[in-house]
Amino acid sequence: MDRRHFIGQSAAAVGLLAGLSSQTKAANLQKAEILVIGGGYGGATAAKYLRLFSKNTARVTLIEPNTSFISCPMSNLVIGGSRNLAEITSPYDTLSKRHGIKIIQDSVSSIDPDKKTVTLASGKTLRYDKAVVSPGVSLNFKSVEGLAQANKDGITLQAWKAGPETVALHKQIAAMREGGTFAITIPEAPYRCPPGPYERACQVANYLKQHNPKGKVIILDANQDVTSKGALFKKVWAEQYAGIIEYRPKSNVVGVDAKTKTLKLEVEDDVKADVLNVLPQMAAGEIAIKSGLANSNGRWVNVNFLNFESTARKDIHVLGDAIQIAPLMPKSGHMANQHAKVAAAAIVAELSGWEVNPAPVLTNTCYSFVNDREVVHVASVHQYNAAEKTFKTVPGSGGLSPAPSTLEGVYAWGWAHNIWADSLG
């Protein structure tokens, strides 16, 4: 063997070793069982991007009880009657047909983080190497006396999780007596979708203005002031809904009398209304709490913001509304989608033996309809801060709309169509 020949063989051997090494790591990615629990904005996006970021090599199973995805963003327009539920519903099967994700239509009854197994309501047990938990929020009906039964009986509705109650609440508003009152109650922050209740009040007022002009909307807000887009909403209430919307801050609802449709407040006098939309305190989705993941006041899940892994349990990554947020990070669908992409990239990196991206970025954009055409937004950009191990908004970035506009109404629907396609298409 001459020298050149030897070098040639060595080079081939080194190349082969490198190939074997990357092959071993790729095999970890390909062999790992990744279970995604919950098919909302967080979970559906995580499932899809685990496939995209792994170049379709990761094995991904999505567990979701519903047959189709109903968007919470835009659902206030269904309550206001200008849109219907079909317009905000997307199928799940695109995720299996187009992206090769296995979908199990079931709910998760328990997670065993020690054995790394998930048990389904049907009784089946699945093993995982990585679990992504995106369960949304649970509504604590016990935080308001009498609410659990009133909601069970359909006398009060939450309609905060979009679905049948969204349609039912619209029907209650449409059937309300002439000159009747709709009351919405807002719990202390944090809760899912900070501007959502104020947008809802606008949508109901917009409906009443056209169909029941003597009707009224009362907003009973446990917070000190409007929690999002405050100046914009107040301007709209004064200009478009004067005499229809009444805003009462620092009004904490503690009880509901279903027979008389009366709300009991902590300090102020009782409020009687014809249609009650009571939003109780919220916490991480039940499965997160049951699994011991909610290590922030027993309500929210603390995560490592570089990979969204729970600080309580290894190899369980938690996304979306269920987490204890970073400062100024909203509990929104847009943000859940962004969490999912950081988590998916981190999981692919970990299973490939790579360092997780040390500088992830998140954005948020949130549109609120103030009537059926005009919209206001809030936007923000969040860069990871390594020293403080959290996301920080960038000074000078983000902000609000100067005023409601129909152009932003067009963009709001553009956002909806694109995020639905990005998460589920």
């Binding site: 992409k341 970025v361 937004h377 908004t393 694109n418």
Partner: protein
């Protein structure tokens, strides 16, 4: 030249042997390989996808301005103009100010139309 050809044949042998042992999946696996850096860049560009579509391919006639007709150079010029305030808009001037110039360059390179 005459010497080179048989040499190549010789040192191809171990590779062929290895490929037989490992199986064909390795070669399809290698074609799918990406680097950590590529993954980070895809992740950064994915922050735009909520509004502008997965990989910058937005829903046609969906109501949001489409960006996939722009070259990387055009996209970067637009993003920098939003950031400086030279270009007006609704959300984009606010979002562009949140990214570093290097991040905007990466996004434009990832999502810009490849020529």
């Amino acid at each position: 030249m005459t010497e080179t050809i048989p040499m190549r044949v010789k040192y191809l042998k171990p590779i062929l042997l290895a490929s037989t042992l490992i199986g064909l999946s390795q070669w399809s696996g290698l074609s799918l390989a990406q680097t950590a850096d590529q993954l980070y860049k895809r992740g950064l560009a994915a922050t735009c996808a909520n509004c502008h579509g997965t990989d910058g391919k937005g829903v046609v006639d969906g109501g949001m301005p489409l960006i996939n007709n722009l070259t990387s150079q055009e996209m970067l010029a637009k993003l920098k103009a939003y950031k400086s305030g030279a270009l007006e808009g609704t959300i984009m001037p606010q979002l562009a100010k949140g990214y570093t110039d290097e991040q905007l360059t990466t996004i434009a390179n990832q999502l810009g139309k490849k020529q």
